[in-house]
């Protein structure tokens, strides 16, 4: 069953393309939209939640067109934006009741109690939100979003700014919601979180989907093992057989993929040393979605005259 479907969904800001012909089909699952900051994730969510008019293409949520039947779409969804927007001068219960009223929910008090306890907030429900921690505020937002039992939940960077424990808890709640039959569309730039919890992910780079699959299938694309190394000197562009150069990470690590990590480490080490490159550290690990992203982006960048800086500056203005 298709819950979210986009075809050729496109958004331009002036002559800058933020989302470029997006074709997605999301079923009843936890679907992650991944990519670095400025890759078009939020723009996509804003279009799907009827807040932003697409420049081209269309999107349907539960069969309703986001442009033609916006009101019906809004009945099916809930949207939690990146900013933590809860009223700190109101209590947790008042915050949720406010949304319950706006949704026109019958038997409001019961519904409010139910979502507050679902999000483990019952005990603190009558305290002012001012006294809540970041993780509690985010859970309160989830409670607000859940009070009308939406079919689809849109979460934009739900774990941003939270500590590790709070993040884990948010993801636990997201998985519970999925098990109750809700479809969750989540954006994040934390690849590891998506790896653990999403059924499928789409990797977005500069407004384009460069891969859609389950996290494990995506990891399998880059091979069994990852060798990462820190070196001094130019590594050149030819490498021993069975070792593929994926690219360089922002932290300066050079990343290679291979099918037999531990056997290939000495091979790679000698190869590099023989060419005058001094190896400072080298290690083998399992591939992550970050490596997938690196390999996909590196392929795209070759022979690509793209003004990255301008693109990101324009997007940040939003």
């Amino acid at each position: 069953m298709t819950i979210i479907e986009t075809s050729g969904l496109t958004k331009y800001y002036g002559d800058l393309c933020a989302v470029d012909h997006l074709d997605l089909s999301v079923g009843n699952e936890i679907f992650g939209l991944l990519g670095p900051n400025g890759s078009g994730k939020t723009t996509t969510v804003l279009m799907l939640t009827t807040l932003l008019e697409p420049t081209g293409g269309s999107a349907r949520i539960c069969g309703y067109d986001t442009r033609e039947e916006a009101r019906e779409v809004r009945r099916q969804i809930s949207y939690v934006p990146q900013e933590m927007a809860v009223d700190i001068k109101l209590t947790g219960r008042e915050n949720v009741a406010f949304f319950a009223k706006l949704y026109g929910i019958p038997r409001r008090d019961e519904a409010v109690d139910r979502v507050l306890s679902m999000m483990d907030l019952s005990e603190r429900a009558d305290d002012l939100v001012r006294t809540y921690s970041g993780g509690m505020r985010r859970r309160l937002e989830l409670a607000q979003a859940l009070v009308h039992e939406p079919k689809v939940l849109f979460l934009d960077e739900p774990t941003i700014g939270l500590d590790v424990a709070a993040r884990r808890k948010i993801w636990e709640h997201i998985r519970t919601l999925k098990s109750r039959g809700m479809t969750i569309f989540v954006t994040t730039h934390y690849m590891d979180e998506a790896d653990h919890s999403c059924d499928r992910v789409a990797i977005l780079d500069r407004g384009r989907v460069i891969a859609v699959d389950s996290p494990s299938a995506l990891r399998a694309r880059v091979g069994n093992d990852i060798i990462s190394a820190r070196v001094r000197g130019q590594i050149g562009d030819t490498f021993p057989e069975g070792i593929t150069h994926l690219g360089e990470r922002d932290n300066g690590e050079i990343v290679f993929s291979t099918d037999h990590g531990s056997e290939k480490v000495p091979v790679l080490f000698h190869w590099l040393e023989k060419r005058g490159v001094s190896v400072q550290s080298i290690s083998v690990r399992e591939p992550t979605l970050d490596d997938v992203f690196l390999s996909l982006v590196t392929q795209r960048e070759e022979g690509h005259g793209f003004d990255d800086h301008k693109f990101r500056t324009m997007l940040r203005r939003r």
Partner: protein
Amino acid sequence: MKDILYYFERDMLRWIRGRISVISALIMPAAWLIFVGLALPTTFSEHYIDFITPGILVLTMLGASLQGGSLLIFDKILGFLNKFLALPSSRESILLGKILFITTRGLIQATVILVLAWALGASLLSPAGILLSYGILALFGILLSAFSTTIALYLSDHDSYAAFNAMVSMPLFFTSSALMPYSVMPSWLAPIAYWNPVSFAIDAIRSLQEGVLAWTRIGGLAVLAALVVAFCVQKFRKVTV
């Protein structure tokens, strides 16, 4: 329609619970009345406090309404607006809720002025006159709060809103009939002041002091308010982020 009340209730709770903002909202107009009403040397009126009170009442509504626009700016910056826009409830109720709250808050401030003016020796209007004054102030509040909230919808940060506020409020007030009657104004100012909507409200309340109902002034205000609210509702219905 209930949604308007829910949005109103939220803003009201937030305002009342921020004690300092309540105190400031009540002290500001009082300061105006005392310093302008009692301290300004005037030659055209025996009883300047009677003359200035309608002006200060309307000034208070003007200030309250223009300041009220920043509520929407904060809802926008902090992400509340996006959540509201994604709700199935009608989008114009966001605007109408703001108008209701901002106007109500302005009327509460106006009440402080009325009580204080009376304490300072201003002559009191008849009960019907007081009621009509509230009606005129409410119309004026609706007009200005619709305008300021809709401007806020199109501005992206609080600094630009503050700039807009400063740019609009001072000229509107000083080119009105608030501080002096038309007869003592410079000749270039009088026609400007006459067509300033701020003067519509002030003149209408001043007529009440003489027991006259200034229908053209009240009517002008009502038509203007209706047009602006209709226009702003259209803008809110079509808004995208």
